[in-house]
């Protein structure tokens, strides 16, 4: 296959370059360990807090989360650090610059260099890593971590093993450090998606990666039949994936090759493993049984990690180690950590908690399993349990706070009830005697999603309160952070409490969603339903098959679909080549390899061309008119027309033409950026173009027009309506033609 040849060539070139570099910088390679911190998550699981502060600066037991990541790197002897910031980049940079320990170039910094890299148009982790590849800063193996990592692992072993594998085989490009834990562990329960690693136990090689999550109705995943060639493999879902990857520079090259990968696991790992026969890259896992590693990737994990720190699982990163310069925690009785200058009334009780400097706890209060920041004032007879209260909060007398997070400078009046799962963002005031409603768990903020001040909702926060319930709009594409839509599995966890209650999990609704997913835009993973697509697509088809064999077939056709669409799209997008023949060859190869049905091919082709056409409509690709776009799509590449005619339609019959028109219509509905009306216009333009290119004949289009399946749903109908003009024109043309014929014959 030509595609394989090209990739192999690129890899060889990469190796040659590497070898040259290695010769020059051999000494450096041995000594300097580099690390990259991804300090933006492109998720909004911590909203409303992340409206004002980036996730990696949110305090985790009174220390900003990024400190743990930096300390982890320092404890592993990392010398050069690159930090990628997305949202709030100024805040993070300022924090690091002002910190006595990490200031870049400061004499006491344990790192010889610490650089910030800003990428203005990054929308995903993938964009960061592709950017990193272009910069050429990475000279050898490096450690990739996230800004919200808390770990006390020692990586020396993993690094040595990684290096040995790499010496043995150049293609061993990445080692993932994973922590195994037993079933029922709170860290497993706190995660959103369940990662499933298929690992060859003798070598630790990762063979396949899948993700599952609770919104999925079938609780199983599909194995690649190729796995059975291996003498043994393990399927593991008991691993905490804390995002520590030891990578070679080739990993960055792989990211660059795949422009559409966004997430390091779901896209990159899954993709690279799936294509390993093409790219030949091997990815290994290093499963550690000792030490601690976790990512504060959502609120339940935040809760879990905070507890772990309090219970000293993260030793030596515990409060009384005083990792920050200005801290002075001491271990007090009842397992608490109390900083200097804290005043606790004699008859108040503090158990298993951490209290920051200059906080005052008045008589009769009880605080258990909580973290209280600095300068807080806690009144009389207050009860605080399992809560996280950041700096400068004021809690009035007789209030009760359970399992909640109160951000900086929150004020809670007297005799209030803050129920389980509450999130009170920066500066919120709750008036006296307010009992917050516990379901749904209250999220109160002073800002809306667009960072505008809210209008205070007196019914919630009381007469002298400030703040209003935080509403999340379902879709928001302008946001520079990730636009996690309403079906991001993280919705289950937008509070500290893991709850499925408010979600309607009826299987019908999901399967309809899934069947629309067939034509869904794969590129748009971050957005609505995106994270569902891969699994649900498979599942939808599974519902119609019974046996296991057909399940495997289903997964195959699924693979075929996404590969074929990407292949065709690449060919259509390619600016340097006019030729469509190689794409055709590849497509036919894929078809044979996967034994794809005619309808699957038709669908793939329709989706690919529709995507290309809709891309051309967008501003960055020239913002063409629908007719122009349709023309451009079909005619810009030589051989495309013939390809559609022979493969896409696949025959002269009216039935096939009808099917193709139908496929095109459905594909248009799958393109998300397109409003329905615009999709309709584009459909009309495309059908017209297909007609004028002699791909579809009047009969085909008219048969489609009459087909019941074309008007199954409202949206289908709406799109179809736009083609009425075309159809009428066709009908007329038909008549005219026959008239003409009549005349001629006369």
């Amino acid at each position: 296959m030509s595609g394989k040849g090209a990739k192999g060539g690129a890899a060889a070139a990469g190796k040659a370059k590497k070898a040259g570099k290695a010769g020059a910088g051999e000494e450096k390679r041995e000594d300097v360990l580099q690390a990259v911190i991804i300090a933006d998550s492109f998720q909004d699981r911590f909203k409303p807090f992340t409206l004002e502060k980036p996730r990696c600066l949110l305090p985790l037991v009174n220390i900003p989360a990024i400190e743990y990541a930096l300390e982890f790197l320092a404890s592993n002897g990392v010398q050069e650090v690159f930090i990628y910031c997305g949202a709030h980049s100024e805040t993070i940079e300022k924090y690091i610059q002002d910190s006595p320990r990490w200031t870049p170039g400061g004499i006491i910094s344990p790192f010889s260099s610490l650089d910030f890299i800003r990428v203005s148009d990054a929308n995903s982790v993938g964009d960061f890593l592709r950017d990193l590849d272009t910069r050429g800063l990475i000279s050898s193996d490096f450690i990739l971590v996230h800004g919200d990592l808390v770990a006390n692992l020692q990586l020396d072993d993993a690094l040595a093993k990684h290096r040995a594998r790499r010496e043995a085989n150049r293609d061993a490009c990445m080692t993932m450090v994973l922590r195994s834990v037993a079933e029922g562990h709170r860290a497993l329960e706190a995660r959103v998606v369940t990662p499933i690693f298929v690992v060859e136990p003798s070598t630790g090689r990762c063979l396949q990666y899948e993700e599952m999550h609770p919104l999925q109705s079938d609780h199983y995943t599909i194995l690649d039949p190729a796995l059975f060639k291996f003498p043994e493999f393990e399927l593991r879902s008991d691993l905490i994936d804390c995002g520590i990857d030891i990578c070679t520079p080739e990993v960055l090259a792989l990211w660059s090759e795949s422009f559409d990968y966004e997430l390091p696991r779901k896209n990159f790992l899954h993709g690279v493993l799936k294509d390993w026969e093409l790219n030949g890259k091997l990815i290994y896992t290093e499963i550690v049984e000792e030490g601690y590693a976790a990512r504060a990737s959502n609120l339940p994990m935040y809760d879990c990690i905070s507890k772990d720190i309090l219970e000293r699982w993260t030793f030596p990163y515990v409060p009384d180690s005083n990792m920050l310069h200005d801290q002075s925690y001491k271990r007090a009785k009842e397992g608490s950590g109390i900083e200097d200058g804290v005043s606790i009334a004699r008859d108040s009780k503090v158990t298993k908690s951490v209290i920051g400097r200059n906080t005052k706890v008045e008589a009769g209060s009880s605080i258990s399993r909580s973290v209280i920041g600095r300068r807080c004032q806690i009144g009389k007879n207050v009860r605080i349990e399992n809560s996280y209260i950041w700096d400068g909060a004021i809690i009035g007398d007789d209030s009760v706070i359970t399992r909640s997070i109160l951000a900086d400078s929150v004020t809670v009046g007297k005799n209030c009830r803050i129920p389980d799962g509450s999130l009170l963002s920066f500066g919120v005031h709750i008036g006296d005697e307010q009992h917050l409603v516990s379901s749904p768990s209250p999220r109160i903020s002073l800002l809306t999603q667009d960072r505008h001040p809210v209008e205070t909702d007196i019914s919630v926060v009381g007469q002298d309160g400030k703040g209003a319930p935080y509403q999340e709009r379902v879709e928001d594409y302008d946001e520079d952070e990730e636009d996690a839509g309403d079906t991001d599995p993280a919705v289950l966890q937008n509070s500290l409490i893991y709850s499925l209650a408010h979600l309607n999990l009826s299987s019908e609704s999901i399967s309809t969603l899934a069947s629309e997913e067939h034509y869904d835009d794969d590129d748009d993973l971050g957005s609505q339903a995106g994270s569902l697509s891969a699994e649900s697509r498979t599942r939808a088809r599974l519902s119609s098959f019974a046996s296991d064999d057909s399940a495997a077939a289903a997964s195959k056709s699924d693979v075929f679909h996404s590969d074929a669409v990407h292949g065709l799209l690449d060919a259509l997008r390619a600016e340097d080549s006019e030729d469509f023949d190689s794409a055709k060859l590849e497509f036919m190869g894929l078809r044979l390899a996967n034994n794809a049905s005619d309808s699957a091919m038709r669908r793939a082709i329709a989706v690919a061309f529709v995507k290309r056409a809709s891309e051309l409509l967008t501003a960055e690709n020239g913002g063409l008119e629908p007719t122009k776009a349709a023309e451009e799509t079909f005619t810009s590449k030589r051989g495309a027309v013939k390809f559609i005619k022979e493969v896409g339609v696949g025959g002269e019959g009216v039935a096939q033409q009808t099917e193709f028109a139908l496929a095109t219509q459905k594909a248009l509905l799958g393109v998300r950026q397109l409003e329905t009306t615009r999709a309709g216009v584009l459909l009309a333009a495309m059908l017209q173009q297909l007609y004028s290119l002699d791909i579809l004949e009047e009969e085909g289009i008219l048969a489609w027009w009459g087909d019941k399946r074309a008007s199954e749903s409202d949206t289908m109908n709406k799109v179809k309506e736009k083609c009425r003009v075309l159809v009428e024109w066709l009908e007329n043309a038909d008549e005219e033609e026959s008239d003409e014929e009549d005349e001629d014959s006369d």
């Binding site: 041995e30 990586l155 834990v181 699982w313 180690s321 990792m323």
Partner: protein, 420 residues
């Protein structure tokens, strides 16, 4: 290929190697974080502290003894604060401070001795135990940095006496005297610190030389999680005596550990014809009646004779005491602290929860509250003999050892040091 020891994680060796190339502040900071991250622990702390203070003396800029004392003390207290459960750090700092004072006094005395006998007679007055408080104003004029620290330092007293009380004899003004004396003082203090370092490194061997006195043929000796000091002690005794060793406190082998615990020690002892028997820690009590003596290693010895030990050793000591078996404590003199144990020491240091319950334990992590005390305090009544590098001692003799090694100033000064 890089050998296995070429890992990236920082440790004591790397720190010591990096000392030369780094600025003082950078090395101090990196040692502080090594201590905080527990990448340098136990007996390594003593060596690391001494090396660090050596750098302070050698590299930092100081013009008189007060400045030097202040430098050493500030660095020392930062190190001590970083690892509040390693009292050895404080001891080394005290020793170095005392050393500087001694050297300074000697210098001064030597200078003056050559000048006039009267000086010495005059000097002997302010050097007597309750030192008369000099006028603060005089000190202010004296200290070069202009700081108004009213120091109790002996040197200060002496120099004040020089200039104020005996103005006629100051034929060598400080400004001229300094360059020569600073460099000689520097080299003398450095020599002194190197001596301390030698003492630390040789302590184990010196303690081992007393092994055959303590262990008699046919003894049944119980050791609890033997450290390097105890191992050397036993091996040395094995070369002259036939006895049986019970090794208690053995933890189940860790995953991937190449050898059974203490296998190196057991091989050495068996080679010398000494039998070893391993006991799980809960089986210890049953064997106590059979045992003749218990040997434990001290992390620190307090002025009252109490010990800071690795957790578990105190059980062995308590059990032995209950059966009136002698408890022998091994510890170099540098581990003797001129202070009483704080409440924090008595309650023990909390270690990582994961060393007793693995984090992977699943539901256990939620259900359990793990308190893993890694150090214990052994009250003085339980200890019979202290074997130091200067020989075996009893509790009643500790005070004189402390008096030999620490100056009264440091005893006062460093009370704040461990506490701060």
């Amino acid at each position: 290929m890089a050998p296995s020891q070429a890992g990236y994680a920082p440790n004591l060796d790397k720190f010591l190697k990096s000392l030369k190339g780094q600025t003082l502040e950078a090395s101090t900071e990196s040692l502080i974080y090594l201590l905080k991250r527990k990448q340098v622990t136990g007996d390594e702390c003593a060596n690391a502290t001494a090396r660090m203070l050596l750098q302070v003396v050698a590299k930092s800029k100081w013009h008189d003894v007060d400045q030097l004392l202040a430098r050493v003390q500030s660095t020392g207290s930062r190190l001590a604060r970083a690892a509040p459960h390693e009292p050895v750090i404080g001891n080394i700092v005290r020793r170095v401070l005392g050393l500087i004072r001694d050297e300074a006094t000697e210098d001064r005395n030597a200078d003056e001795m050559s000048e006039s006998v009267e000086d010495i007679q005059a000097l002997s007055v302010p050097a007597s135990p309750p030192p008369p408080r000099p006028h603060p104003g005089l000190i202010r004029t004296q200290t070069a940095g202009g700081s108004v620290v009213v120091s109790k330092s002996m040197f200060n007293l002496l120099s004040v006496a020089d200039t104020a009380d005996l103005p006629t004899t100051t034929s060598t003004p400080m400004s001229q005297a300094q360059p020569a004396s600073v460099s000689t003082l520097r080299s003398e203090v450095i020599d002194g610190i190197e001596e301390i370092m030698d003492e630390i490194s040789q302590a184990d061997d010196q303690i081992a030389t007393f092994a055959d006195i303590q262990i008699s043929p046919g003894d049944y000796v119980l050791v609890y999680q033997p450290t390097r000091t105890v191992e050397k002690f036993l091996v040395k005794a094995a070369s002259k005596r036939r006895f049986t060793v019970f090794i208690a406190g053995i933890e189940p082998p860790h995953n991937g550990a190449a050898e059974a615990p203490y296998s190196a020690l057991r091989k050495k002892l068996n080679a010398a014809g000494v039998h070893t028997i391993c006991l799980a820690s809960n089986g210890l009590m049953a064997y106590i009646p059979r045992i003749n003596k218990v040997v434990i290693n001290a992390k620190a010895v307090y002025q009252n004779g109490g010990l800071l030990v690795d957790s578990g050793s105190s059980i062995a000591a308590l059990a032995a005491h209950a059966f009136s078996k002698p408890v022998i404590v091994l510890g170099g003199v540098f581990k003797f602290c001129p202070e009483d144990p704080s409440d924090q020491v008595k309650s023990g240091e909390q270690g990582s929860a994961s060393s007793s319950v693995t984090y992977a334990e699943g539901a256990g992590v939620d259900a359990l509250e793990v308190e893993n005390t890694v150090t214990d305090y052994v009250p003085p009544e339980l200890v019979d003999i202290y074997v130091t590098n200067l020989g075996p001692q009893t509790r009643h003799h500790l005070a004189s050892i402390l008096a030999d090694h620490y100056k009264p100033e440091e005893m006062v000064l460093t009370m704040q040091l461990g506490d701060a």
